[in-house]
């Protein structure tokens, strides 16, 4: 009887998730252009992930993006949530709605909006010129040094709200007696934060890191629409390389290998984050 209820879900899931995973592993050990007969190359495609400078660079960029998508939003979210939790400010529901909004807007729309901000005649440069910092104005997404941080900042903007709301939910579960006791001991806002708030939301921090790290490693549409990996290779990321190699260059096996490595990386980082999170709670 249970298997009858499971059947439709499992059939679809197996055909369009499990089977493609297995096929990706199979494809990754072939050199194949998508048309002719492929040749078996063993683990060469995986070796290329380490030796191919462009792929190495892409994975390096993904790690930098983790700072912007994950670490920065968690830092910002901790401050914002602590403020909202401590000072019973007015307009909390409004603030929550606003800061969470970037999460529901399609990434393509986000990319279009930020492209206009970063454009040579966009509002960021206009603001810099307005305060006399003409020297800093530049085409942000076309700049070899600043394009990756510029894309990363968009990630910070997107993740910030999710992390804040997540942490806020955790903090609201801390019993207020704990704060009262701390205050009787003469603890200020900062000590209160490190002694009570921070340890209490370890679980939420772990979840926030997991979610945002996955988001950072999966960034595709943002890069596709804002920079296309450029200028040069300065914003290319693994997911973009998967697309480019499989569907533009005809390096199907290599693309599959990059996808597998990306998956393994996501699982490994998750495992580490959760291990550390578990250990610090006990």
């Amino acid at each position: 009887m249970p298997y009858g209820f499971l059947l439709p879900a499992f059939a679809l899931y197996a055909a369009f998730m499990l089977f493609p995973i297995a096929r990706a592993v199979q494809l990754s050990v072939y050199e194949w252009d998508g048309l002719t007969v492929g040749t078996f190359v063993g683990l060469d495609n995986y070796a290329a992930v380490v030796t191919d400078p462009r792929l190495r660079e892409a994975f390096g960029h993904a790690l930098i993006l983790i700072v912007f998508f994950s670490l920065l939003p968690v830092a910002i979210g901790l401050v914002l949530a602590a403020v909202l939790n401590r000072a019973k400010v007015r307009g909390l529901p409004f603030f929550r709605t606003v800061i969470f909004l970037p999460q529901v807007v399609a990434m393509v729309v986000v990319a279009v909006a930020w492209r206009q901000i970063y454009a040579p005649d966009g509002s960021l440069n206009a603001a810099l010129r307005g305060v006399g910092l003409d020297g800093l104005a530049r085409p942000w997404l076309g700049d070899f040094t600043f394009s990756l941080p510029a894309v990363g900042t968009i990630g910070t903007w997107v993740s910030m709200g999710l992390v804040t709301v997540l942490l806020l939910a955790g903090m609201s579960r801390i019993p207020s007696e704990q704060y009262e006791a701390a205050r009787l001991d003469g603890a200020g806002a900062v000590r209160e934060f490190f002694a009570i708030t921070l340890p209490a939301v370890r679980g939420e921090i772990t979840v926030a890191l997991t979610l945002t790290i996955i988001a950072a490693l999966k960034t595709f549409d943002l890069v596709y629409v804002t920079t296309g990996g450029g200028p040069g290779t300065s914003t290319t990321v693994p997911s973009y390389e998967v697309y480019r190699r499989a569907f533009e260059l005809g390096e199907v096996g290599m693309a599959a290998a990059v996808g597998i490595v990306l998956t393994v990386l996501i699982f490994a980082i998750n495992l580490v984050v959760n291990r550390v999170g578990d250990r610090s709670t006990t």
């Binding site: 249970p2 209820f5 899931y13 493609p20 400010v89 729309v109 909006a113 595709f220 629409v225 499989a246």
Partner: protein, 272 residues
């Protein structure tokens, strides 16, 4: 609460600064989208240029692409939610062999990135003639949504009241009747959340429709926006108007039912 005036002011400054940061890109694209398209139009002196939306709609052929997006969303949401309900019911209320292993297999799908499966999906679906069809775009997204949906519905069925199921069974209701006539009506909030999240993910999805329909026959609205950008690099106003149109359906639903979105994404994320 004893907070100093300085601290209160500082708090508000911090919050307002970040609210402004969160809102600025959205507001600026809204302002651009209703602004004048050219300098000569600006001289007419009107504040709101709603005609930008109709112009973007027709120039970008959005009636066609929005219709595709609606169709894909309806298929993915209805099939995925239905399958997830049944699978979640089995995992949440029944004991059977291989239960745990199977559940972990489903969980796997939440973490596997689309990038890992998109390559074989494209070439295998091409060989069976499913690329450039609505099913080529919908089926992979159904599979992804089933992974989360099963996990989500299982949590609901686990938390549902055992005694209600027992009472139903004593009344002679079969497993099907218990699901469809007792648990599903009671679980409306949880199901609504799942419907909304699945709708949002499907509507906003980019990589799958991009790859699965290379000819552009089954182009969804977000893709149409990306291509619209390629064509109208100089037309900032129309591009902004098109962007607003693409974001609008999900944003409007979010503004009315935001508690579902926030709860779903927060609770759905918290691991067991």
């Amino acid at each position: 609460m004893m907070t100093s005036r300085f601290e209160r002011t500082a708090n508000y400054v911090v919050l307002i600064a970040f609210a402004a940061f969160a809102l600025f890109p959205i507001l600026s694209i809204l302002v651009t989208s209703i602004g004048p398209e050219t300098a000569s139009i600006a001289r007419e002196g009107r504040t709101f240029h709603w005609e930008n939306f109709t112009a973007a709609w027709s120039q970008g052929q959005f009636s066609r692409y929005m219709a595709t997006s609606v169709l894909v969303s309806v298929i993915v949401v209805s099939v995925a939610v239905l399958c997830s309900l049944m699978a979640g019911y089995a995992f949440g209320t029944m004991r059977f062999r291989g239960e745990q292993v199977l559940f972990y297999v489903f969980l796997l799908g939440i973490m596997v990135p689309t990038e890992a499966i998109i390559v074989p999906l494209y070439f295998d679906m091409r060989s069976v003639g499913l690329t450039n069809t609505i099913w080529g775009v919908a089926l992979p997204q159904i599979a992804q949504s089933i992974a989360f949906g099963t996990y989500w519905m299982r949590a609901y069925f686990r938390g549902s009241n055992r005694s209600i199921i027992e009472a139903g069974r004593l009344d002679g209701a079969g497993t099907h009747r218990i699901l469809w006539q007792i648990l599903v009506p009671m679980g409306r909030p949880a199901i609504t959340t799942l419907v909304l999240l699945t709708f949002m993910w499907t509507w906003n999805e980019f990589l799958i429709p991009l790859v699965m329909s290379p000819s552009g026959q089954v182009r969804t609205a977000p893709l149409a926006l990306a291509f619209f950008q390629g064509q109208y690099v100089q037309g900032t106003t129309l591009l902004a108007a098109a962007a607003v149109l693409v974001a609008l359906p999900v944003v409007v639903v979010y503004l009315f039912l935001q508690r579902h979105f926030i709860r779903g994404m927060i609770e759905g994320a918290v691991r067991e």
